[in-house]
Amino acid sequence: MYSDKVMDHFKNPRNVGEIENASGVGEVGNPVCGDIMNIYLTIENNIITDAKFKTFGCGAAIASSSMATELVKGKTLEEAWEVSNKAVAEALEGLPPVKMHCSVLAEEGIHKAINDYRKKQGLEPWVEKNPHSHEHEGATCDH
């Protein structure tokens, strides 16, 4: 059901772990829904120099975390903010429709970590252009 790319990032996830004293941390998801992602970013001179994650979730959630951290590394905050859930899913050579919310979660995690950093810097957090609630296509995890 998963692409080779998803299985590769699931079995050999990049950037697993935490960053102590991270510049920004994004915690998203809910154990009741079956997925939680923690994203850690090191930011130097407006550039993401390191990104790590810890994830509780299915294969797609782990692969999305791995891919999202890969995609934002080396990018400016402005560029990283533009990394959409679709970009994560495309980089994974597609996700099954019921698993698209995993890529949404990854995008949200990155955004939350960036805004965590911005707040720490005394800057206005950026506003989500297309706010996703943590809803699954059609069904809501309403616990």
């Binding site: 935490e18 915690e27 154990p31 299915c58 959630a61 069904a139």
Partner: protein
């Protein structure tokens, strides 16, 4: 390292077809293909084969052959029992009693009837998945026309007190249906001593072919047809008979019920060693289902801090076929209704793993799982943010 071998631990999902069963079936695809409804001589061979299979099924259930009806499988049998009883008895009442842990073939059929004017009581279960007979008795009203309670649960393996529940139904003169799809070959069934009026079974759960099942209907039970058409199955179930399938079903149930004790002893020994090994090697687990009143091959265990689908993917990578009650594999995004009905917290339901052993399994299979599973669990826990919280909080080990 040789070829990766397949270790099949999902016998509750389906089984392979036994060689003896397949051998019995094959001639009915090729040589004896006659339509049993025809009058020429080759049709007689087909009719005789169906009679033999019917007798084999009847014997396995302690029923009469005239009470056995072949169907396309467990789902059809469940649909027929519930919709057929409902429509035939609608003048008498509109109330049906079932449980929260039924297979979807029963649950969704009941929900369909609810949309059509029926009232359904879904009995709760205790933390082991057991239905309380007193609760059943309290739920019965003068409008109750059917009680449907599964014999053994497909996910957690809990075996319900069927004879006792059936006795209550009988006392109140309400037809009692049981979905026995998981029970055949694992539990000794007798429809008379166990007070069963209708019983569903499916051949592919006991080493028979897919696409064939049975509904047992006690003589005198008022029930409408589900499949209308020709006069097959004594005008009760239309459609040209799946002769080879029916032959396979008969042979499979004969073999599966020939030595239930011996089969259970062998499977249970493997299961107990596997379960004990998992519990010894992996901390923070939760056994789902009843410790004793459970199917001999069933293990359903939750691993805290991790999610089931990611476990299955890693196990599959090692050749191990298993299943989970996590939402993430069902497409429904809700974890197993059975685990939730036992009161298991949602987040722990996501981390459940079902291993169901059967005829093909060996000690080597158990050893492989005991080697692989602890590594899978610890790998996933290492990347789980929930596990970190746990370690920080109270120092695991």
């Amino acid at each position: 390292m040789g070829e990766k071998r397949t270790v099949y631990l999902d016998h509750s999902a389906t089984t392979y077809v036994r060689k003896e069963v397949l051998d019995a079936m094959v001639p009915y695809f090729t040589d004896h293909f006659g339509n049993p409804s025809s009058i020429y001589h080759i049709a007689g061979v087909s009719r005789k084969a169906i009679d033999t299979a019917r007798a084999q099924v009847a014997k396995a259930l302690g029923a009469g052959p005239e009470e056995i009806y072949f169907t396309s499988g467990g789902s059809e049998s469940d649909n027929w029992a519930i919709k057929g009883i409902a429509s035939a008895n609608v003048k008498k009442g509109n109330h049906i009693i079932t449980t929260k842990i039924e297979h979807h073939a029963v649950l969704h059929t009941c929900q369909f009837l609810e949309k059509n004017g029926f009232a359904v009581t879904y009995l709760p279960v205790d933390k082991y998945g057991l239905v309380d007979p007193a609760e059943l008795e309290r739920a019965i009203t003068d409008k109750t026309i059917l009680i449907s309670i599964m014999y053994a649960n497909n996910e957690i393996g809990t075996i319900e007190p069927i004879a006792e529940l059936g006795a209550i139904a009988r006392k109140h003169k309400v037809p009692f249906h049981t979905d026995a799809v998981q029970a055949i070959g694992n539990v000794k069934i007798d429809v008379n001593t166990q007070n069963i009026d209708l019983l569903s079974l499916s051949a592919h759960k006991f080493y028979g072919p897919k696409g064939v099942g049975v509904l047992y209907i006690r003589k005198g039970t008022k029930i409408d047809n589900l499949i209308h058409g020709g006069g097959q199955e004594r005008r009760r179930r239309a459609g040209t008979e799946n002769i080879a399938g029916i032959v396979g079903c008969g042979k499979a149930i004969e073999l599966a019920t020939a030595d239930i004790e011996g089969h259970n002893k062998r499977i249970r020994a493997l299961r107990d060693r596997l379960l004990a090994g998992i519990q010894a090697k992996i901390p923070d687990t939760h056994l789902n289902g009843h410790p004793e009143k459970r199917l001999p091959g069933n293990i359903n265990i939750s691993f805290e801090f991790i999610e089931g689908e990611s476990m299955l993917l890693w196990l599959d990578d090692e050749g191990i076929c298993a299943s989970t009650g996590s939402a993430c594999t069902s497409g429904s995004l809700e974890p197993s209704h059975v685990l939730l009905a036992t009161g298991l917290p949602v987040e722990i339901s996501h981390g459940s793993l079902r291993l169901t052993l059967g005829n093909v399994n060996t000690d080597a299979d158990v050893d492989l799982v005991l080697d692989v599973l602890p590594k899978v669990v610890s790998r996933l826990r290492e990347m789980s943010p929930l596990y970190k919280g746990k370690k920080g909080g109270c120092n695991v080990q």
